[in-house]
Symmetry: C2
Subunit: 458 residues, 2 copies
């Protein structure tokens, strides 16, 4: 079904209030598509959040919970306000444990305690624990809704147990074996269970000492492990080595994609906007972008001051100005290339802090070759525009600025990482600004010496 | 086990030629870690590819095949040369169908036909078909190794069938139901099979009209669908609607990560380097980077020419040069911000071609606000450095360059996409160069008019 048809039907159903028609429609379409169609209409302001609320009220709780899970937190926040407390409680109850904890964190304290009152004690404790993990940690993306099985059970027993208890679990493709301390002793995949003889004991064929992550580690750690080892899910342990949750591959995919988006935006000097570009308000975009633009102005004031310092050199050889953008930008461009490669390699864990020295050697080799090539190219231009002396100045400058820019570009991400900042903060524009200021000074210093001009102050 | 210990043991085993010790070691460690340790040693040149070959000869074929699958194609190519044809054939036979087809494409024609001769006809045809898909298509990342089941079978029959045939399948968590034409009529998950009553017929509870992708679509399409709908695998159909393969979630994760890397690198003006940064040779890095650096020089020649054209203006008001980097870079920075946001949003499918007009409206609003803020900030600097007239020139220029830069930055990715280029080619440095040249002209044109200076030629 096309999005337009879907939206048309949703509108008609909202007006008629026909819950049965809505149930029929939801059987034919995927909830991810319903959510996307609604988000698109909201962004175009051709659909109102109140209308979404009305539709959620018409739906069964399972569907409303699924739909809620596809919405960004900004939208969830408004819906929480608009929904009746009784309906909201039912929807939250039907949500997966991890999504429900995220939603819980959006509520006011009053709403939180109201909601907790309506829950059974184990559910309440589970929700409070999941909601307590800091954003960006493994704990914040894990779910506590995993399947467990007894080590002494047979494969047939385990399958029977999964049939009885697994219906609403996040996944039954991985099952976890705990000892009486709730410590993790092994995992069994559903494939293992199916392939085993019905009488085989779990303890005899489970995977011992499985890979795990800690709840307080960064969420990327879980995503990287799942991707590297092709896992369906990874168990999460607390500081006492108890199994407190699992991260599933689909959540890992979301984490990897969000992290890539955030790195991308930081490198483009936009700051980290969580969520989609279409959903970002003009106000948010302004706020995230203006910070960097103003900050970079200060970087450029250094370049300007460098130029002002050498005003006499410029006045004596006005032809030097022709080469200014070319030389200065080449250093910045080489630097932003290096930074780009390094930021992403550090983010994906491909390159570690300890690799700095060996990467520096390679960077110097590559930058040396690049600088020499560029110097040869611009020296021709130099002879044509200003004669041999200018050509020498320009070529020497080019060789140096490309090397300096590249080394700054590759080193800054490491330095930031060392100082516990996100390496992606070494954005291309930041590197460019720093390399520019260095380039101005290198250029005019070389020019002053070779062309034998007295500097402004000298 | 630490990587150093692992490498030490591998070295010792290679020298002693003790196949049993190797088999024991491989039981205790994960193959992904063995592969990573070896790749790291190779990059540091403390391990030789011949030694890897020796280890592969000592391993059983299954392990050697798994190890081969973790290596980048550059390394596979050398290993193919070094391995005995008989051992190579066994290793290839044990590899998953998709990885095996990729490896096949690395062989010379002679080696290919030699290899094909040793295979059964269905295997040969399968390999040839998989290897025939263009790189970057769904076909190039799918596997033909999927499980099928009869629509008339019961759940119990289907599980029995999977036990008998599923051991070496890529996944048994999704099973596909075909009609006599080999067309796809439905899918069943292993969870569905487990949860169903043993006597239930597949036809009664399978998912009809499942989502699918076409083999000739771009591979990102499969990865995006798997991520959006939280699938374990997505079926791949050919132009006759026959089921020819599946893409599994783990391959989708690799595709998403590689695509993010490639976009990242393109935006950083490095070109698309496939594979890891550590494995890239100095020669490859030089080649990928020099192209962009030289190309961008041409962009900067326009800026230089613009400056040369206004040399008289500059000579009359040398103070203008102070603001040159600041104004010109601000336009470039604003542009690279916009481009960054747009490139990634287009790549992930969040923003479509049809959204250009609505995005342009928002961009103008944001850029207008940003420009006004920046103009206010620099006008203070302008008064201080050069008086009221200079301040007006500088503020007006700032407002304009931020808007022009932003519009170029957001529009170029759309334009490239329209022309069937990758939007990520609108790299930050490219946007910066174009915005720079525009900035120079805007700046000096405004200065010439307001300060009433005759231009060079006029």
């Amino acid at each position: 079904m096309e999005f337009e048809d879907l939206i048309r039907e949703l509108r008609a159903i909202r007006i008629s209030g026909n819950a049965e028609a809505l149930a029929n429609l939801l059987e034919q379409v995927l909830m991810a598509d319903v959510a996307e169609a609604i988000k698109e209409q909201l962004a175009r302001q051709t659909f109102r959040i109140r209308e979404v609320r009305d539709l959620m009220v018409l739906m069964d709780d399972q569907s409303a919970a699924a739909l809620m899970g596809y919405f960004p937190s900004t939208l969830q926040e408004v819906l929480v306000e608009l929904l009746e407390p009784a309906k909201l409680a039912k929807i939250i109850d039907a949500m997966p444990h991890d999504e429900r904890a995220d939603l819980f964190n959006l509520l006011s304290e009053e709403e939180q305690s109201e909601l907790l009152q309506g829950m059974s004690q184990p559910e309440r404790e589970d929700m409070q624990r999941l909601a307590s993990y800091d954003e960006g940690t493994v704990g914040s993306v894990m779910t506590s809704d995993f399947a467990t099985v007894d080590a002494q059970a047979t494969a047939a027993d385990a399958i029977k147990h999964l049939r009885a208890t697994g219906k609403d679990k996040e996944t039954i493709y991985q099952t976890y074996v705990l000892d009486e301390d709730l410590s993790l002793v092994g995992t069994v995949s559903l494939k293992d269970l199916i392939m085993a003889e019905p009488d085989d004991k779990i303890a005899d064929f489970m995977t011992m000492d499985p890979l795990f992550v800690r709840a307080d580690e960064e969420r990327e750690v879980a995503a990287q492990a799942i991707s590297k080892y092709d896992l369906l899910a990874i168990p999460v342990l607390d500081e006492k080595k108890h199994l407190v949750g699992i991260v599933t591959y689909d959540d890992a995919m979301d984490v990897a994609s969000e992290e890539a988006d955030m790195d991308f935006r930081k490198v483009g000097a936009v700051g980290s906007i969580a969520g989609g570009l279409k959903e970002a308000s003009i106000r948010l975009l302004y706020k995230k972008r203006v910070f960097w633009l103003v900050l970079l102005v200060f970087g450029n004031i250094f370049s300007g001051a460098g130029i002002a310092y050498f005003e006499d050199t410029i006045a004596a050889y006005i032809a030097l100005v022709f080469f200014l953008p070319l030389l200065v930008d080449s250093g910045g461009n080489a630097g932003s290339q290096s930074a780009t490669l390094m930021v992403r390699a550090l983010a994906t864990g491909e390159v570690m802090m300890k690799d700095w020295a060996s990467m520096l050697g390679r960077e110097l080799a590559v930058a040396g070759l690049l600088g020499a090539t560029m110097a040869a190219a611009v020296s021709v231009l130099g002879i044509w525009r200003g004669g041999m002396e200018i050509a020498i100045v320009v070529a020497l400058t080019m060789q140096l600025v490309v090397i300096v820019g590249s080394v700054i570009g590759m080193s800054l991400p490491f330095l930031l990482s060392k100082l516990k900042f996100d390496p992606a903060t070494a954005s291309a524009p930041l590197i460019t600004s720093i390399a520019d200021a260095c380039g101005v000074i290198i250029y005019f210093a070389i020019a002053t010496v070779i062309l034998d001009i007295p500097a402004a102050i000298a």
